[in-house]
Every structure is written in C-alpha cells, then in structure tokens.
Symmetry: C2
Subunit: 136 residues, 2 copies
DNA sequence: CCTCTTTTACGACATGTGTCATAAGCGGGA
DNA sequence: TCCCGCTTATGACACATGTCGTAAAAGAGG
C-alpha cells in the first residue's frame, strides 16, 4: 500500500531547500550551502536539511561528506500544495498561468509537441462530454 | 516611489486566508470563517485575519461587522512567491505542470483555443531562434 | 601519533503559526 | 431598560521555523 502522506503542507522555507536538492539531485551540506541564494549560515542549512530528513522529506546518503536527497518529488508538491495555490491564485484559470510559463522561458520542440498533445487530449475529452454545463 | 516590499514571503496558511479575501473582495470574520474550507474555529480565523492586518497584507474596513480586504493582489504573489515556486517546483519543466492542470479540470473551448494559441506562439518563437543550443 | 580542516551533533532562542478559550462590547428587540 | 447574540479584544500555548554558536568526531597530512 502506498505510503500516503495526509497533507503535505510545505513551508516556504522548506521548498527553498528542496529546490536545491531537486536541482542537484543530491547535495552535501556544503554544496547546498553554496547553492543557497539568500545566503544564510552553514549550520542553518545543516539544520534545515536535517529537519527535512526528520520529516521524511529528504534522506541522507553516505557517511562523511553525506549527501542529502529529496524524497518527495516536485510532482508530489504539485498535487497538494501547489495545486491549491496555483488554482486559487490564477482563479482557477489555467490560461494565464500557462501563458506566464511559456512566455517566460523557451521551450524545446519536444516540449512543444507534448504540450500540443496535452491540449488535444483535453480537447477530445471536452468534445466527448459536450452535454450541458451552463455556468459561465 | 513604489512602496516596494522587500521580499514578500507568504506562509502557506496566509494564502489560505488571502484566497478567501481575493475571492470575495472583502469579507467579515464570519464570512471568512464560512468560506474557509478546512474548517477551523471562529477565533482562529479572527486571529489569522488580524495578523494579516498587522503585517499590512490586509486591511479592516468598517466598524461593527468589520470587513477585511486584501492589500496585496494575486499578481503580487505570482510575481514573487509563486513565480519562483512554480518555476522551481516544476524544475523549469512546464509540461508536467500543464499536464496536471489540464488533466485535472475541464477546459472550455475558449480556453483550449487560447492555450493552442500560446503554444503556437511559443513554437514560432522557438523556430525563429533555432541556432545553436546543444545542452540536452 | 599529533594537528588542522571539514563534518556532524546538539542545544539554544527569538519569532512565526495554528488554534482556541474567555472575557468584554454593543445594538436591537422584548 | 435589560438581556441575548454577534463582534471584538486579549491572552495562552504548543509546535514549527529561521538562525546560529559550540563542541565533539573523523579524516588527511606530516
């Protein structure tokens, strides 16, 4: 059975650290400390990392220069925290959000293709159930 | 000069309340309490609302059944908090995020059209600058 | 084996958050 | 005018977070 975390509410700061781990795959305290934008003390990073481990959001690997690795994936966050956040902030409107995303960075042809595919799927789904929904 | 808030780090919970205010425009404690999904005590909402005011993120209007109104707008959040969050959480990868968004809800034909348009734009932009970037 | 540097382990502390319970205040109807 | 229910004002608390300082442990060299 799936180890289902009931809520997964990430604090702003926790994501700060997780970002680093996701980006690097794994990082030692020193590395994480380096990558940390808003510079803070070394031990601060250490503590944060450890607390993340305690909460089961990350795990330690190796002994001396131990590396930390995120246990949860970005997708996991999307499902809980981010989902609500994004949905509400964009008022449930995906277009503005997507606009922001695609305009802000350059996509590869591959991504473009996948995106199109997604839209098409949605369209098909949309077509299929075109019965009666009138709330504007 | 613009009153530039230096950082704007919103705690997960603050957004919960702000959402309500954005959605309603303004709300009394009672109303906010009602609209609050994850039900909590009346005074809890009261406290949260007040703390928001203290931090200048919302303001009180009227006296007896006082209404609270958000001072910052969703856009403000998008620009600071959300932007970083989304970008990083999806690891810079928009596809998974969009996938999540479009699969999770039904889009109107209108939205589908707009989405397609966005993708096409991106594609065009992509085409234009197809010179040399080889990092996979 | 001794010393220096890098890693870890702890412990501390001020704030921030989440959640309430209680106790005053106030207006309107009986 | 007096009481009742809805509003506010406080005060409390436990736990979470943000940030470190220090001291103990472990390897790397000499």
């Amino acid at each position: 059975m799936k180890k289902r975390r009931k809520e997964l509410r990430l604090a702003t700061g926790e994501i700060e650290i997780l970002e680093i781990l996701w980006q690097a795959g794994a990082a030692t305290i020193a590395q994480a400390h380096e990558s940390h934008k808003r510079k803070v003390g070394y031990t601060t990073v250490q503590t944060r990392l450890n607390r993340l481990v305690e909460k089961g959001l990350a795990k330690r690997i190796g002994s001396h220069p131990a590396s930390y690795q995120a246990v949860i994936q970005p997708e996991d966050v999307s499902r809980d925290d981010l989902k609500v956040l994004v949905d509400r902030v964009t008022g449930g409107r995906v277009v503005p959000l997507v606009a922001h995303l695609v305009k802000d960075r350059k996509l590869s042809s591959e991504e473009i293709r996948e995106l199109k595919e997604l839209i098409n799927e949605a369209e098909r789904r949309n077509q299929k159930s075109k019965s009666g929904e009138g709330e504007q």
